[in-house]
Symmetry: C2
Subunit: 228 residues, 2 copies
């Protein structure tokens, strides 16, 4: 589903040059649940943005569903994203003056889903992340962990092919994190949702079938979990 071929992402030049990704090869098959770990600044979000078609490599190639996505223009990448990808941003990126349910409906609006069906699907997604009763709140009227869960609901409401989640439980307590992991596992098993998830917590990563570790813009290890 996802393939990196010697992907580099470079910012600046000369003394100020930063290689956020420095030659990354990575393949993710349909139906996999991959956890991505590594120190702060090691390139995880940069890799996630390329996987999610939000950004393109400086060098090397990125294939999404066998299409050279790095070579497409902005609007074609946006179309791929809207049709196939759900993205949970490290900073949530919710619309500030919009309620929780309207934020979750946004990807459905792009797909031309009718208003009544949009509302139904959005409320279901909010229920799945435990936010029934908060749908009318704007982000400022929600706790950090509640905002994070709105972002997760928005990412799954279209039933995407690929979920890219950048630290989806970073602001959630243990019990709530386990609930969200249960939800992601169910979507992965029952609907074949492919998941690439950044986390810095080992017990969250343990829910995935494979752990890829970044260090200084390269992949340092790539370990499949042994069947229990």
């Amino acid at each position: 589903l996802v393939r990196f071929e010697q992907v580099w992402k470079t910012y600046g030049s000369g003394e100020a040059r930063v290689d956020a990704l420095a030659g990354v090869d990575l393949t993710i098959e349909r139906g996999e649940f991959v956890a991505i770990m590594g120190p702060s600044g090691s390139g995880k979000s940069t890799a996630m943005n390329i996987i999610g078609c939000l950004d393109t490599p400086t060098r090397g190639r990125y294939f999404f569903m066998d299409v050279d996505a790095g070579g497409l223009d902005r609007s074609r990448r946006a179309l791929l994203r809207n049709l196939y990808i759900g993205f949970v941003f490290q900073g949530y990126n919710l619309l500030a003056r919009t309620t929780a349910v309207e934020n979750v409906e946004l990807p459905l609006i792009y797909r031309g889903v009718a208003a009544r069906q949009r509302r139904k699907l959005a409320l279901e997604a909010l229920a799945k992340v435990g936010l029934t009763g908060r749908e009318g709140h704007t982000p400022a009227e929600l706790s950090g962990g509640q905002q994070q869960r709105v972002a997760i609901a928005r990412a799954i409401v279209t039933n995407p092919t690929l979920l890219v989640a950048d630290e989806p439980t970073g602001n959630l307590d243990t019990a709530r994190s386990q609930e969200i992991m249960g939800l992601l596992n169910a979507l992965n098993r029952e609907q074949g949702l492919t998941i690439a998830m950044v986390t810095h917590e080992a017990d969250i990563a343990a829910h995935a079938g494979r752990i890829v570790t970044f260090v200084d813009g390269k992949i340092a290890s790539d370990e499949a979990k042994l069947e229990a």
Copy 2:
């Protein structure tokens, strides 16, 4: 240093009413290092905002250094904050078009510190959180964990009396989190910095001398660590 007397924080009314805090009594002595835990939406950030003089109770009283801070107007609370309090926000709240070092200098500008001394103190604070080499980057050019560390540096650069930190290691890997905890412990032990820190990770909370747990806007437990 900090005292809550039957503090309530209520939003909305009637059916839409939310009691973010529902009668909280809490005392924090100078020099303590208190961890604050509890489920998502239980009132932790609301309590932190009142402690940091960013917000006032709906009912009940909040005393900071024996002054009824809840009864002060905005500008007097802002003055208390600038002189005595360092705040790490759950969402960092960095200025977007400003570099890391300029963001860290901001509290020093409020205190009228001269430009050369400001730059020196800000660079030292950034070095303490491991960000030497990133001082000229704006938030958009920094990873999530790097932005979080800029927020921490900004909170400690004035050598405040009280540090209020809302999930300061939420986006940091284990090694980096332990470094930050080591830094906070050193400031607490060597400079008597009083710390109120929200975290949802038990091994981060273990660095504190006392754990206060919120549930549904009330304090459910308040446990001092037994001396090892």
